[in-house]
């Protein structure tokens, strides 16, 4: 599991920083974080979220800290879901990733500050929902690949 999370984190930075893809590339960092958060205690998940958020904020001159807040809260929330959902149904994982990613975008929008962010409907609703659907789709592919690997 940790190898795949590390691969997702690396892939995210290769695509978003190395190859300069924006919204065209899925948010593998949030996906990796959401997967890891379900395996970690509350404080470790929050710590990992903070590190991931700070790395995203490294390139953010517009709203430094917004990614840190969003990722820390989402990772903490992800860890809490362990006690609420067993997560053994097929629908759970994509639904969990969808909700996590959308929440991350919503918190990021709130934390950005009014002078920097774009309108709520555009950024938090439209872009947020499409981005969450995109990552949820990737999560389905990821879970299929992972289960086929574990069957070998």
């Amino acid at each position: 599991m940790w190898v795949s999370v590390l691969m997702l984190f690396t892939l995210h930075f290769v695509l978003h920083i190395g190859l300069s893809y924006g919204r065209e590339a899925p948010d593998f960092l949030t996906l990796g974080l959401l997967i890891a958060a379900r395996e970690l205690s509350l404080s470790r998940a929050a710590g990992l979220g903070l590190v991931a958020g700070l790395l995203e904020d490294a390139m953010s001159l517009l709203a430094f800290g917004a990614n840190s807040i969003a990722m820390t809260l989402v990772a903490t929330g992800g860890s809490v879901t362990r006690d609420l959902f067993v997560g053994d149904s097929r629908l759970f994982f994509p639904a969990y990733v969808f909700a996590g990613k959308w929440t991350r975008d919503l918190i990021h929008w709130l934390a950005m500050g009014p002078e920097v962010r774009h309108p709520f409907i555009e950024q938090a609703v439209l872009e947020g929902m499409l981005g969450a659907l995109y990552v949820a789709g990737i999560a389905i592919v990821f879970s299929i690949v992972r289960s086929s690997w574990s069957e070998r």
């Binding site: 929050a46 995203e56 390139m59 001159l61 800290g65 903490t76």
Partner: protein, 283 residues
């Protein structure tokens, strides 16, 4: 597998909750750090992301190399034609300045650079250039493309620098019409959608006429941008406030996303310094 069963009443659970609280406080605290500290933290973190930024630099340079040779040849031909007459004009200008006892107009030194853009959330309107303090690039250095102004450097490090383009909310430049008749301030204004971000020529006195299609240049006031860099052309009137101020929407000279190869201003030209006379004064 995760360890279940640490109830909130147990010592481990309390410690976990305490550490979570501290982490959350740290996360919220990052937004309240002074800007200089944020920039230092950001620079430190970027060191950790160096392999990815290095890859970005390589990819951008490769993209810039792919520019068609024919297009470069055409540009070279037109530049040669311009330069053939430019020398005579420069010489004439120098003679006239000497006659009028005016100081020699200073030239500027530029460093060619390749621009690249991170695609992480919150990094919109910012870019990286592959030149830094080692090349003489400082914060507030203007960044130009062949068509006009791209933006300005915000932070400079040893081997690269971070800049903001004109779509950034903090971007401002004093500006004038190409004929020097009207002065104002160019700023970025957010649209309803990201694609609607506009460049606005603001602060134009109500009584002054600005014809649509006129070219807007940097005025050189404020000392950040040298005079005469193209910013855009006047597209339409944006707003009129009472009977004292007007603002116009500009068609930007440079689309920030399409700029790959740029020039970064590093200071006054060394050639111009050689023009000082024996007493060390400019003529």
């Amino acid at each position: 597998m995760p360890s279940y069963g640490n109830g909130p009443d147990s010592g481990a659970g309390t410690r976990d909750l305490f550490l979570t609280g501290v982490t959350l406080l740290l996360a919220f605290g990052t937004t309240y750090l002074p800007q200089s500290t944020q920039e230092r933290v950001s620079m430190l973190l970027q060191e950790g992301l160096r392999p990815f930024t290095a890859l970005q630099g390589l990819v951008s340079e490769e993209g810039a190399r792919r520019v068609r040779v024919e297009a470069l040849q055409e540009e070279l031909d037109s530049l040669s034609a311009m330069m053939s007459t430019h020398r005579a004009v420069t010489d004439e200008n120098r003679t006239l300045r000497k006659l009028l006892d005016l100081r020699e107009a200073l030239g500027y030194d530029y460093r060619p650079a390749t621009i690249s853009r991170p695609g992480t959330p919150g990094s919109e309107s910012t870019f990286l250039v592959n030149v830094g303090t080692e090349d003489g690039v400082r914060a507030s250095a203007p960044v130009l493309a062949p068509a006009g102004l791209v933006g300005v450097i915000r932070e400079s490090r040893s081997s690269n620098a971070v800049g903001i383009d004109w779509t950034h909310p903090d971007f401002r430049s004093s500006a004038m019409l190409a004929d020097g008749s009207v002065y104002g301030m160019v700023e970025s204004r957010r649209g309803d959608f990201r694609e609607d971000d506009r460049l606005i020529l603001n602060g134009i006195p109500y009584h002054q006429e600005v014809a649509l299609g006129q070219v807007v240049l940097t005025s050189g006031l404020g000392g950040v941008f040298p005079r005469g860099i193209a910013i855009g052309t006047v597209l339409r009137i944006e707003e009129e406030e009472g009977a004292w101020r007007k603002a116009y929407v500009l068609d930007p000279a440079v689309a920030p996303g399409s700029a790959t190869h740029v020039l970064v201003l590093v200071g006054e030209s060394a050639d111009s310094l050689n023009l000082s006379d024996s007493e060390g004064e400019y003529r």
